[in-house]
Symmetry: C2
Amino acid sequence: MGSTPQVRRKVTLSDIAAACDVSRATVSLVLRGSPLVNKNTRARVEEELRRQGYVYNRSAANLRRRTSSSIALVLNDLANPFFAEFAAGVDEAVAAAGFVTLLGNTAESTDREQAVLGSLVEHGPGGIILSPAEGGDARKVLEAVGEHLPLLLFNRELGGDMPARAHWDTLVLDNQRGAQMAAEHLIALGHKRIAFFGGHRDSSSCRQRREGYRQAMHAAGLRVESHWMIESAPTRLDAARQAAALFAGKSAPTAAVCYNDAVALGLMLGLYQHGRRPGHDFALTGFDDIAEARVSMPPLTTLSTVPRERGRQAAALLLHRLHHPDTPPSHTVAPVKLVVRDSSCPPPAA
Amino acid sequence: MGSTPQVRRKVTLSDIAAACDVSRATVSLVLRGSPLVNKNTRARVEEELRRQGYVYNRSAANLRRRTSSSIALVLNDLANPFFAEFAAGVDEAVAAAGFVTLLGNTAESTDREQAVLGSLVEHGPGGIILSPAEGGDARKVLEAVGEHLPLLLFNRELGGDMPARAHWDTLVLDNQRGAQMAAEHLIALGHKRIAFFGGHRDSSSCRQRREGYRQAMHAAGLRVESHWMIESAPTRLDAARQAAALFAGKSAPTAAVCYNDAVALGLMLGLYQHGRRPGHDFALTGFDDIAEARVSMPPLTTLSTVPRERGRQAAALLLHRLHHPDTPPSHTVAPVKLVVRDSSCPPPAA
DNA sequence: TCCCCGGTTTGTAACGATCCAAATGTAACC
DNA sequence: GGTTACATTTGGATCGTTACAAACCGGGGA
């Protein structure tokens, strides 16, 4: 009745086999639910498994079967709510497929990215989902990952010059179209002088969003003043600091398309600090629709990317690749949706 | 010069040994940087390792050495910024120790917790860091984890009746002291009628925070009206919904100690919706110091828990346990720090 | 009686690494 | 020259599991 102490050594399949007086092969068949084993034997073995508190050693099985039961998830900034949601989505889908997630956070450092990839690959994941650190080099990533391990790139392109045949899949947001929609929305409200605020000049997502903004402005026959393009780190703090720059020159803008939500929230704070009231005398939009966008003051008009769903999608794409290693690389662009809230108001004088 | 194609099969230590005309054992020694091998042999082998693009198979090594190179991290809500930061801290320390992180998100479901633990344990982690789902049962957790796998419980106690000898370590925040500090701060500002707002009645952290609040009130000789204790889900949305309840009866409070930051931010929103201005005619405090607390309107007075540092600490505690399996369980209470910002103002009539 | 058959079971050799005791080669010593 | 000491190298056996081909077994048909 009492549980067997089993002080140190782990219980293995051999222990069970010995106790039931059957071969290891039979126990293995039971574990995998094979229809070959006799009903009685199965019952006897299963009872013994419970009794001894056996736990399956999947690494050993993977070694023998030359399979994998994990996928690696490498993120440039796990602490960012956008990626945290994304990770939750990945894990959800990965777990549902019977895999486990190996996590690695690079904190936006390409050195750590190299190290993390190297370390994770040694654990034999079936594939890798990577949101690259800024300024990474395609060649180095490929070197760490190898030519044959399925790789899904999320969110960013890889920098550096491309190797001859890039074998990876990609999943990116429709940055350009999204920023374009935001700008069109502000234009429709009557704004004429619209800034593009925040983000790093050379990040690929920022470039794409700027481009979308430009297209919308151009299509509406509106001019873009160079001092309406304001760079900042993609953080609230730096964004708040840069707010003043908007009103430095003459012909100050009445609205801004912000690089992302963090920047937009920072800008809001900066506006308040300069005595302006976002959503009343200045309109702005974000990008990402993080949880706080809904409850900021005022609630933020933004582009919803549904990061959790993107995580599920990324996992699905990678799992698909695991089963079809030889189909040509796929490149998915996930649509984004404009969510209108109170931060985008008409221009004051309109 | 060109890289060897190596179309399918992975390169193993045997391949290298064959190519260098040495034994597998020697290659193994090289890989582990043993001082036994001759300088020339080492160079020859290392060159070949590079040439063939060898990657170490850590699972195989772990099998043979009966070691582990991973730790499992199981969280009740990865999408919550608090836990995302925590996870980043864990991963940082875990990676620095040469381990990888196996991630599992339970989304606050005890069923998924069981499944996730079961699945992760099969991959042979060296230990587990678990932030339990609400309403979990100690017995079931122990059943999934086993009696001998190092386990560190973070943030919450386990429900259900305790097994005879609980072998796990714990790391919790000083919830009681924190809430007490918040209440004392409000009292010092001159508030007499202070509510405790939000959180689930029966969650252990909420109980502890309520207790801290009570102690402070009692120590100051202040009464606690029962309708000042308002329950809510620990989310912004539900908190905003419950805001009205504060002013339902007579003797409405002039301040509130909130269960956590999410609840506090929700309450702020609710206050605005009822025409009140938090930080001017109503004071409130949060708990956690999430990133947005600093930039809310007004910036939130709260208790800083430094979740990333807690993550590092959790990893350190678990790694310590790995090296000292037989020392008695440790129970760590992490201090919290009051961060005063603008949301805590004096009472209006004072 | 013998043979064949489906339903079960099993022995043995892997998977890719490490451990360990023993073997090798070389230089140094008496 | 023979012995010892030291530096290197190596052949298995092994970790816990699975694949595979072969063996077993009881019964039905010839």
